[in-house]
């Protein structure tokens, strides 16, 4: 049983907390670092930067990824950019302003201290990446260029064409490669974590499966770091990579780690609309496009005219109309919901009427096609490949899609979960983005955690752990390993008739409908009734061909989908319990007269952290609340008008 949640936020004024923490935190001497083993699961921006940095510091790091190379983690797909409070544009930016924007963008559902620290270290990230050779965009004078990005009134976003995530990840992958060559990091690609092992209540290792051979292995360590990303694929269709999954964090939840705010999912406003049933994933068009593109739908319902035939006065530039000061740059949750409203109103465009126009005609007239091509060329190319349409000559069609998950394992200021030794970084934790993440902040958080936060906070745990590492002969390892093997046999043993993907699709449709851009109590109750039914059928009817002792992708997916089928219930439970609207969590019962999210700060200015109690209706998860205290900022109604 878990008592009160201790966020372990240092005392003192907000802007001194982190420096004072660093001044007084426990250290581990270089001689002792060699004796400490750290497991890092995941090799994206958070995991890769953490593994590389901890390796540089002299710890023995084992890093695991399910991809065939650490360079392929899903961070690579991030397009738009990374924020930092450098104020190179002399437009009034500062650490405080980045902090304020992030808290406000998150609809006042994140911790002040964590977010302030994030804003504080943001500048060091840019320095670090430039030194690694990340080819950020530059101005003719040779200095770094910036652009403004969704939800910000200053230009603080650094970018490398539309491939910022790729370049940052490659910088971090190269730092990781250097440590692999130096022998401080041992890399395990094509290896999936299937359970975390607790010894005397501390996370002391993991159980993995080698995806090429099927070998199950136990790995012991002094601490475990999960950097396994988000759970957006619970919806089946999302912009996440196919392999992105909730298994590592969900397995940790089942072992006692609290899962916080699972209902906070971000629906990204600018994705290519769904074209048919065959679709396996959705493709994001970076929202940097909203800097120059104008979003509109026809005024008239069911208007099927081609866009160039619709005269200016018959178009509704609804974001510019509703949010004059932010216009097309309104935050993601607001932009997404507005698109849904327009389509629900029968004014959507394209097949099925689930799309809105993103029009570059004005920008091309103003700046010329060459400039637009230079800024967004690769995005326009992607769009043409997928849809067969040329966006230089006709507006793009876009529609919101699941993109990012703000919820994750609960962590304290040290980025440690309630399970001692189990640290969680990047998208996998819940800490920095509240109920909605601002554009270009995911890359910032991943790298902040990995390069500059965890390397300072992990030693405070490790300093007390020297000489305490168990061996894999400990009974807890045997128990966990047996559990993993039994689950694999059970999945293969069902031998039914339906593919894993067919269950995943069924679950995704249900969630998108009942726990997507808008939610209500009746819908959520219905989902909570139906999820266990789908899960029941999965365990009776799924067919996983082949064996566990070989490369078996059906088996990999079956394990991930089985976890989604349990996790989905937790997500809907959280969405039902959070009886307010905030950020990406829009409860239809709670809106202002003009349809904006209506928070309830009296009852819900807290993080919801859920404790596993067994599965579903038999034993619902137990709720722990961490009150969010706003010492510096006033809780304000978010307004982007």
């Amino acid at each position: 049983m878990i008592g009160t949640l201790e966020s372990r936020i240092p005392s003192g004024p907000l802007d001194k907390k982190w420096s004072s923490y660093k001044d007084h935190a426990r250290l581990v001497s270089p001689a002792n670092r060699r004796k400490l083993d750290v497991i890092v699961v995941g090799s994206g921006l958070a995991g890769g930067s953490a593994a590389a940095t901890l390796g540089e510091q002299g710890y023995n790091v084992k890093c695991f990824c399910f991809q065939d190379s650490p360079r392929r983690a899903h961070s690579i797909a991030a397009q738009g950019g990374i924020n930092a409070a450098k104020n190179y544009q002399n437009d009034g930016d500062s650490v405080f302003r980045l902090f304020y924007d992030t808290i406000k963008g998150g609809d006042f559902r994140s911790r002040e201290a964590n977010v302030y620290r994030l804003a504080e270290v943001s500048n060091s990230i840019i320095d670090q990446c430039v030194e690694q050779g990340v080819p950020f965009a530059r101005e003719y004078g040779g200095l770094l260029a910036n652009r403004s990005f969704g939800g910000a009134q200053v230009s603080r976003t650094f970018y490398a064409r539309g491939q910022t995530g790729q370049q940052l990840l490659l910088g971090c992958y190269q730092a990781l490669c250097r440590q692999i060559a130096a022998g401080t990091v041992k890399m395990f690609p094509h290896t999936e974590m299937l359970d975390v092992v607790l010894v005397d209540g501390h996370a002391k290792g993991i159980i993995t499966r080698n995806l090429e051979t099927g070998d199950i292995h136990a790995h012991a360590s002094d601490a475990v770091v999960l950097a396994t990303g988000g759970y957006g694929n619970v919806f089946y269709l999302s912009t996440n990579a196919r392999g992105s999954n909730v298994t590592a964090t969900y397995r940790a939840y089942r072992k006692g780690a609290l899962f916080a705010n699972p209902c906070y999912t971000q629906i990204h406003p600018t994705c290519i609309p769904v074209s048919g049933q065959h679709q396996s994933k959705l493709t994001l068009m970076s929202e940097s496009l909203r800097n120059d593109g104008r979003v509109w739908v026809p005024n008239k319902q069911g208007d099927t005219r081609s866009p160039e035939q619709i005269p200016e006065e018959e178009r509704d530039y609804y974001l510019e109309r509703k949010y004059p000061s932010f216009g097309n740059l309104a935050p993601r949750d607001i932009s997404s919901r507005s698109a849904k409203e327009a389509c629900d109103d029968g004014r959507g465009v394209g097949p099925g009427g689930r799309g809105v126009f993103l029009d570059f005609a004005d920008a091309i007239n103003r700046l010329g096609e060459t400039t637009i091509r230079e800024r967004y060329g690769n995005l326009f190319d992607i769009y043409e490949k997928i849809t067969g349409e040329d966006a230089y000559n006709r507006p793009m069609r876009i529609y919101p899609a699941v993109h990012y998950t703000m919820g994750g394992l609960w962590v304290d200021y040290n980025l440690m979960s309630n399970v001692p030794g189990l640290h969680v970084i990047g998208e996998a934790n819940f800490s920095d983005h509240g109920a909605n993440r601002l554009g270009a902040s995911a890359l910032m958080q991943g790298l902040a955690d990995g390069y500059f936060v965890l390397p300072y906070t992990l030693p405070t745990y490790l300093a007390g752990q020297i000489g305490k590492r168990p061996t894999v002969d400990h009974p807890e390892f045997h128990k966990a390993e047996t559990g993993v093997r039994e689950r694999i046999s059970k999945m293969i043993g069902v031998n039914g008739t339906r593919s894993v993907d067919s269950f995943h699709r069924e679950l995704g449709l249900l969630l998108w409908d009942k726990c997507g851009m808008a939610r209500n109590a009746a819908g959520l109750r219905e989902a909570l009734r139906k999820i266990p039914e789908i899960r029941g059928r999965f365990w009776r009817e799924v067919r996983v061909p082949g064996s566990g002792e070989e490369f078996n992708q059906s088996l990999e997916r079956a394990g991930r989908v089985a976890d989604y089928l349990e996790f989905a219930e937790l997500m809907c439970t959280d969405a039902l319990e959070r009886d307010e609207s905030c950020g990406g969590h829009f409860r239809e019962e709670h809106q202002t007269p003009d349809g904006e999210a209506l928070r309830d700060d009296v009852n819900f200015a807290s993080a919801f952290a859920w404790e596993f109690q067994g599965n579903g209706t038999i034993a619902p998860p137990k709720l722990h609340r961490e009150p969010l205290e706003f010492e510096t900022l006033e809780l304000a109604q978010r307004s982007y008008k």
């Binding site: 320095d127 690694q132 250097r178």
Partner: protein
């Protein structure tokens, strides 16, 4: 649309492989090539057969996971682009489509259409980085970089590490891959201090891994989904020559 697939099936590296025929019927032209394979797999599974193993992840051409040779071309006919960015509208109704894995000796075979490309990681581990410890970096704007150099570095850095260059090359050469990293870092002041050892070590590991030499057939450039220019191979050769000379002179 309807297609006839001929797909490479091989259980393990030690087993014998063969091309097997599968129908792919009722496929919408807006389906991606990999989604078409998903569909075939779903039908195989429901019919009690083993699905075709193939890897993919981002499905938007950036992660470099997918590694299919389609009708004899790495990533298929729609260049530039990875196999995941290929759409069925690109094929003719009724067409026979042959699908094989990327083949190059250093890519260890895993199953069906899956190979292990960790040899590429080992080339990067040999020196494809700047030794910059976290926290040690100077202020980002303290070293200006001419825009044209930064842009050129970005062109090289855009490599997605898929290995199509080696798979398409008659010599299984990884020169395009290696040259992209060497050029990216050589074009930036931050990469300068280590450029001599970097190029020598990366080329040496490239050879040790069993990748062949470049004989200027330019197949690599033709199939590269990231449009890495073969002119970077010329730059690699220059870097290598200068580095070798420097070493000889004791520099």
């Amino acid at each position: 649309m309807n297609f006839k697939l001929r797909v490479w099936r091989q259980k393990t590296g030690a087993a014998k492989g063969k091309l097997a025929d599968y129908p792919a019927n009722d496929v919408s032209p807006d389906t991606s090539f990999l989604e078409m394979l998903d569909l075939v797999n779903d039908r195989l599974i429901e019919g009690g057969e083993e699905p075709i193993a193939f890897e993919s992840d981002c499905r938007e051409g950036i992660c470099g996971t997918c590694c299919l040779t389609i009708n004899g071309e790495a990533h298929g006919p729609d260049h530039p682009g990875a196999a995941c960015q290929l759409y069925m509208r690109r094929f003719k109704e009724g067409e026979t489509i042959t699908v094989e894995p990327f083949r190059a000796k250093p890519f260890r075979f895993v199953k069906d259409l899956v190979v292990n490309r960790s040899a590429l990681d080992r080339i990067v581990q040999a020196g494809g980085f700047v030794s910059a410890r976290s926290g040690s970096a100077p202020e980002a704007n303290s070293i200006p970089v001419p825009k044209q150099n930064a842009d050129r570095a970005m062109e090289a850095a855009a490599c997605i590490g898929c290995g199509a260059c080696a798979a398409a090359c008659p010599n299984a050469s990884a020169m395009l891959f290696t040259s992209a990293k060497v050029s990216h870092l050589a074009l930036l002041p931050q990469g300068d201090p280590e450029r001599t050892n970097r190029v020598l070590n990366m080329v040496s590991v490239m050879d040790e891994e069993g990748f062949g030499n470049c004989t200027n057939t330019y197949e690599c450039e033709a199939v590269c989904p990231a449009e890495i220019s073969a002119s970077f191979i010329a730059k690699l050769n220059r870097e290598y020559a200068v580095a070798t000379l420097r070493k000889k002179l004791g520099g």
